[in-house]
């Protein structure tokens, strides 16, 4: 009995002439994501991708777990492949789904015949398999409307496949089909979710993090790396650049009105990020802002921040509620990491009463007290870099932008 992983494509199947390209990227992503788990053959036919173990250490359990986190996959199921003969199919179904059948009281069988040369229709095949399973499992009864377990029998070109309930995939589009963008990541709940959402739309990620040593600690940075490692389980590997901004923050504190501290700092972040993004092949920035959540996330504040960015800024969370963001972060697995209590650069020198409706001319006038260009240059002179993969975090060379 050969076991395979059947992967069903999502939105890709709606693509017209580009479909092949999307499919190729997805195949490449699946191969790359499974590589640390042993050798697999990954092929596609009839809107389904087949993953088969190709070496003794190739572990389908782990492959299945990975498949649930690959964007572009709408559903996946572990199945056993058998020859297209009804007796063999019956025996395989009873054996392969033994534990699942033991755990339920009601079931039904669904047949799907895409190989029309097979002598039985979908309905007939389902009825015969159902009858056999009943005879082997006296505790079961058939319930076609609300069964606890649905056994699926797919009769395809190369073989018949038997599986239980397919699992929902991560949806979205394959990473890499939507260009490249840079996520501005803090240590909070929102930005990892924003990164995940854009990756789900096929965007390849680069991460930019701002740190303020000695005001912020190594632990805060490790927390961000850990958050990104979680996100990378979905988005694939990415680089994270850490920009140190303590001196810039001190300058703003000393020379600008306190109520504008956050907004001016965020404008600095936008300028620095634009430059890193441009030089690393990104064509947009991503932030985790949600309208009205804090003072710097009002329409007016966002307008001021945007004016300092020289590329599109995506804010996938702009219209979401905190509760929705929290629920997504639980799903992604970043929530528990996000709530670890370390100072981040945004909580250093926080103004007591931030301005909620700043106007751009007013902010620009305040900024004139600073040598903006020199401060940005200084931050970008030595930017630390690590490469993040789901398995581990590799130190990379310090960069200068």
């Amino acid at each position: 009995m050969e076991e395979v992983l059947l992967i069903k494509l999502g939105e890709i199947v709606l693509k017209g002439l580009n479909r092949k390209t999307f499919e190729q990227v997805l195949l490449k992503n699946i191969r790359r994501r499974l590589a640390p788990r042993g050798e697999f053959t990954v092929t596609s036919a009839q809107s389904t991708i087949y993953v088969k173990p190709a070496s003794p250490e190739a572990d389908l359990d782990l492959a299945e777990e990975k498949a649930g986190k690959i964007f572009g996959v709408i559903a996946y199921a572990r199945a056993c492949a058998v020859e297209k003969e009804i007796g063999a199919i019956q025996r395989a179904a009873a054996e392969y789904l033994k534990n699942e059948l033991a755990g339920v009281s009601t079931f039904k069988v669904e047949g799907k015949r895409s190989d029309k040369k097979f002598p039985l229709t979908s309905m007939e095949a389902a009825a015969q398999v159902g009858g056999y399973l009943l005879s082997k499992n006296p505790h079961l009864s058939v319930d076609v409307h609300n069964p606890e377990l649905t056994v699926r029998v797919e009769i395809r070109e190369e073989a018949a496949y038997i599986h239980g309930a397919p699992r929902p995939g991560a949806g979205g589009l394959p990473v890499g089909t939507g260009g490249q963008a840079a996520i501005l990541i803090s240590g909070g709940i929102d930005s990892p979710v924003a990164a995940w959402m854009m990756a789900r739309r096929g965007v390849e990620l680069t991460a930019i993090h701002f740190a303020s040593p000695p005001y912020t600690s190594e632990r805060a940075e490790m927390k961000v790396q850990e958050l990104l490692r979680k996100v990378s389980e979905y988005s694939g590997r990415m680089k994270m650049y850490t920009v140190e901004i303590a001196h810039m923050q001190e300058e703003i504190r000393d020379k600008c009105p306190e109520e504008l501290f956050t907004i001016i700092m965020r404008r600095f972040m936008m300028r620095a990020s634009t430059r890193i993004a441009e030089k690393t092949g990104c064509s947009a920035l991503i932030t985790g802002e949600s309208l009205g959540q804090v003072a710097s996330q009002t329409i007016q504040a966002i307008a001021c921040t945007d004016a300092a960015a020289e590329m599109p800024v995506f804010r996938p969370l702009i219209g979401t509620d905190k509760a929705e963001i929290v629920s997504l972060s639980h799903q992604i697995g970043t929530f528990d990491i996000s709530i670890e209590p370390y100072e981040d650069c945004c909580t250093v020198f926080t103004p007591r009463h931030p301005r909620t409706r700043p106007s751009l001319p007013f902010v620009e006038k305040a900024e004139a007290a600073l040598d903006v260009q020199a401060l940005v240059d200084e931050c970008l002179e030595s930017v630390r870099c690590v490469e993040i993969t789901p398995e581990r975090i590799y130190p990379a060379e310090t960069a200068s932008f």
């Binding site: 003794p56 250490e57 359990d61 534990n99 033991a102 755990g103 339920v104 632990r219 490790m222 697995g333």
Partner: protein, 381 residues
């Protein structure tokens, strides 16, 4: 490091610590000795070492790091799982199902729970050492709150019906948690608790070439245990106390050094098969371990020679095996007794257990010594 040559065939009792684990422990005792809760860099480095170990253990089970709580070993993991689960669910029922041949850290905990008002069902194995699946389905009722089944029996190597237990809980619609004592199975069987419907799973370091005094408990998402120990919030408050970073690091290193399960299985199978064939030719030898059990364990009776006598004879030849289970010195094996074996066979039963450090030569040396022992000791009677 030179390791003196002995033929150690008692790996289910404990194992030699692997170089990787010993090195890691030394490093974490003498160089990176910070407290993982400290905010400074040394604390961070200790915490990183711990995170890495947690990740290694989690990955070996295909679960998330937050599912892993470090403990002092198998006994503590089993105690925490049973007491923690029974008390967390005591409002939903009193019935606990386990087997009569669990390790004593499960058995005696279950007996204690009986004294505290819980009702415990002990399933008995057949002569072949197996627990029948039908018995599991029958025993798990709607009001069962905990099922504890070992993955592999430590004396015979028989593999127990863990997945059937999960199915039984599901079919009965019971509010039961499923605990699996995987101390003997971890690293040797493909165990995926999240996939197999296991809620709690105990492992121990010293059975897989990590030091003694370290173990872990897998706790599934959403499962709450009533803690037994209170303190400074470590290990998600389930098992507080400053973490034993050197031992935790060593456990992680030992797990990372484990060969892939399939490879280990094949190597152990070869040794087991070879010993079985040779024992089959020896008169008076009866094998108790099932053919398709865990291949690193082989339990058999050596004729009429009492196990202890034979054990000492073998030890005098530099060969180390165990009589029954090493944990309960001189007590008659409760496992073989529950299997209904004749008393004479129980009293002469030996357990050989392999690790990846054993070779074909070790098997040959054991057989030679056994033959010699059977000749000389039988005559002395």
């Amino acid at each position: 490091m030179e390791i003196k040559h002995e033929i150690y065939l008692d790996n289910s009792a404990t194992t030699r610590v692997c170089e990787e684990a010993a090195k890691k422990a030394l490093e974490l005792m003498t160089a990176e000795y910070g407290n993982p809760s400290s905010l400074h860099t040394m604390g961070v480095r200790a915490e990183t070492a711990m995170t890495q170990a947690r990740r290694a253990v989690a990955q070996a089970m295909s679960v998330q790091e937050k599912n892993i709580v470090f403990t002092s070993g198998g006994t503590e993991s089993n105690n925490l799982a049973l007491f923690g689960a029974a008390y967390a669910r005591r409002k939903r029922g009193k019935r606990i199902v386990t087997t009569a041949v669990e390790h004593h850290s499960v058995l005696y905990t279950a007996q204690q729970l009986e004294k505290e008002g819980f009702e415990v069902i002990y399933l008995k194995p057949g002569r072949d050492g197996y627990i029948r699946e039908e018995d599991v389905f029958e025993a798990v009722t709607r009001d069962t709150i905990l099922v504890s089944v070992m993955a592999v029996n430590n004396e015979t190597g028989a593999i127990f019906p863990v997945e059937a237990a999960a199915a039984a809980i599901k079919r009965a619609g019971a509010p039961a948690l499923l605990h699996v004592d995987a101390v003997q199975a971890f690293g040797k069987l493909p165990l995926r608790p999240a996939k197999m419907g296991i809620d709690l799973m105990s492992i121990s370091g010293h059975k897989i070439h990590a030091p003694k005094g370290i173990g872990a408990l897998y706790i599934a998402n959403g499962v709450h245990l009533t803690p037994r120990v209170f303190g400074g919030g470590q290990e998600q408050n389930i098992r507080p106390g400053t973490e034993s970073v050197p031992l935790i690091g060593a456990l992680g290193a030992a797990v990372e050094a484990l060969p892939p399960v399939a490879q280990e299985e094949a190597a152990m199978r070869a040794l087991n098969q070879s010993l079985r064939e040779k024992l089959a030719d020896m008169p008076g030898v009866v094998i108790h371990s099932p053919e398709d059990g865990l291949p690193c364990i082989l339990n058999f009776s050596a004729g009429t020679v009492r196990a202890e006598t034979m054990l000492h004879f073998l030890a005098s030849r530099g060969i180390y095996v165990s009589s029954g289970s090493a944990c309960a010195k001189s007590a008659r094996s409760h496992v073989l007794t529950a299997m209904g074996l004749p008393q004479k066979e129980i009293d002469s039963s030996l357990r050989v257990s392999f690790s990846r450090y054993n070779t074909e030569e070790d098997v040959a040396a054991l057989v030679t010594a056994l033959e010699e022992g059977l000749r000389t000791l039988a005559r002395a009677r």
